[in-house]
Amino acid sequence: MTALVGPTLEEAFEEDRRRAPAPRRGSARRGWLLPIWGWVVILWLSSPIIVMIVFGLNDGRGRVVSTKWNGLTLKWYAQLFDNADLTTALENSITIALLTTIIAVVLGTLMGVALGKFRFRGSGSVTLLLFANIAAPEVVLGAALLSLFLSANIPRGYGTILIAHVMFSLAYVVVTVRARMAGLDPAMEEAARDLGAGPFVTFFRVTLPIIMPGVLAGGLLAFALSIDDYIITSFNNGSTLTFPLYVYGASQRNGGGVPPQVNVMGTIIFAFGVLVALGGAVASRRKT
């Protein structure tokens, strides 16, 4: 039969591939404008980071970082916690970010699992709620929450900042978890149930380990959003300061100078974030 029909389709393709010149990779090598553009943009994006790291090592006397280069020093690293207000602000930022992450991950994972796994009446309106929450401008989220706190006479401070941070990071956790749920084979859960596992055992022993990358990514996102937020926090902080609020306040006062420790703390947070991200990337590569 095959002799009559000639080569099968696969064979024909194989033949074609053999005859054709090597795949056109030339175009990938030719252009040099794109790489230059790309690297210039990357360099530009990194320039404030370089300034931050370098000026954290700049010697000087004043209470604010000097605009001139006065020589290399590590003294701001040694005196990292000398500025009490700044230290408190940093502590607030870190604890709020941790608490936000925990609450948002628990609530967000439950929601993400429900939206990814079940079709139910009202799921569309929940999605719309999440969409509106992500799409609404930060000023409006902050101002609206402030209206509520003002009209309900709730004093603003640490607690209201935490409430606000969970409110704006929750939806991001839901979306990442739901995206991960989409890749989950329902047969896995069914198999667990057939083997006599209850819904809780199934969730903790089967579902959760599979969606863990999504949960971790959502948690990291919540932490990053929380520790970096300025606008929404500025509406709901009362007299409590977070790290971004402190830096902003310092940059607005007396001609815009921040204490040199700000650059050092920024550098440490930066290094920590990069290490966590790289560690995560290495871990996930090893697993696959």
Binding site: P35, L45, F120, T127, E138, V139, S147, I269
Partner: protein, 289 residues
């Protein structure tokens, strides 16, 4: 059996409920509460009463349309510049990145590991009158002794572009990454030159990414005021600053609330038109990346 079925029915609601309540209490209710505040009259000392005073909205517009329009103008300018800068970068990483794709993306996202306020503050430091950028421009005789960058709209739009550029690159990258290179080959097999292949194949396929990028850039940029405050001057005030001042300095809550709604109204009209046209799921997915 039926008890089990009921439990299965209720399961999704039980899972959604805690998070849903959080969003309703701290997002939906506040928004409605702000809507009601916006039509109240009164003052901080005697309290505010609901009088359905809708003319606050027109007052807000007459008083602050300059700042509202400026915010939209800066937002538009920054978004367009972001697109022009970001598209080639996203294209480069998606089609030429090879096995370094994730490393390049990581480098692009590096600024996110530094606080937004610190980054903006670093720019203030670099652009200041005695800073390194002006110094360099003077050495090159491109700037006179009195040239200023800070406090101009250039500095503000530049800062906005800088801060939000990664939000533009990512969705475009995601869309371009999904384009099958075989389609380009097919295009060239059909005698399309590179420009035609780009225009007819790559560009249309990347449009959803471009739309998402516009949305994810324009909304935060137009409502940002940190850049305007740190890098700008009195001539570059954006609407966010006005809302903040009305709340905290002038204690004029109705005016602040109505300004928030005008801003949200302008932005939401755009968003919902977008969502209607292209569906919300894509945007949510993009937003999560």
């Amino acid at each position: 059996m039926s008890a089990l079925r009921i439990r299965r029915r209720l399961a999704p609601y039980a899972l959604v409920l805690p998070g849903w309540l959080w969003l309703v209490i701290f997002f939906v209710v506040p928004t409605v509460s702000m809507l009601s505040v916006s039509t109240m009259t009164g003052n901080d000392l005697d309290g505010f009463k609901q009088t359905f005073h809708f003319s606050t909205y027109s007052d807000a517009w007459t008083q602050y349309h300059v700042q509202i329009l400026r915010s939209l103008r800066y937002g538009l300018a920054a978004t367009v510049i972001c697109l022009v800068i970001a598209y080639p970068v996203a294209y480069w990483i998606a089609f030429r990145g090879g096995r370094y794709k994730s490393s390049l993306l990581f480098l692009l996202l590096l600024p996110f590991f530094v606080s937004f306020v610190i980054r903006t503050q670093s720019w203030q430091f670099m652009l200041s009158d005695h800073g390194m950028v002006i110094g360099l421009l003077r050495d090159l005789h491109l700037a006179g002794d009195h040239t200023q960058i800070l406090q101009t709209s250039t500095a503000v739009v530049g800062g906005l572009v800088y801060n939000f550029l990664p939000f533009t690159v990512l969705p475009i990258y995601v869309a371009l990454e999904r384009v099958d290179p075989a389609l380009l080959e097919a295009g060239s097999d059909l005698y399309a030159n590179k420009a035609t292949a780009f225009r007819k194949v790559v560009l249309p396929l990347s449009l959803p990414g471009v739309f998402a990028a516009v949305l994810l850039t324009f909304v935060p940029v137009a409502s940002d005021y940190v850049n305007a405050q740190i890098l700008g001057g009195s001539q570059t005030t954006m609407i966010g600053t006005v809302i903040q001042t009305e709340y905290f300095t002038n204690l004029n809550y109705p005016l602040a609330a109505s300004l928030s709604f005008i801003l949200m109204g302008v932005l939401l009209i755009g968003i919902f038109l977008y969502a209607r046209l292209l569906g919300t799921d894509d945007v949510l997915e993009m937003a999560a990346r």
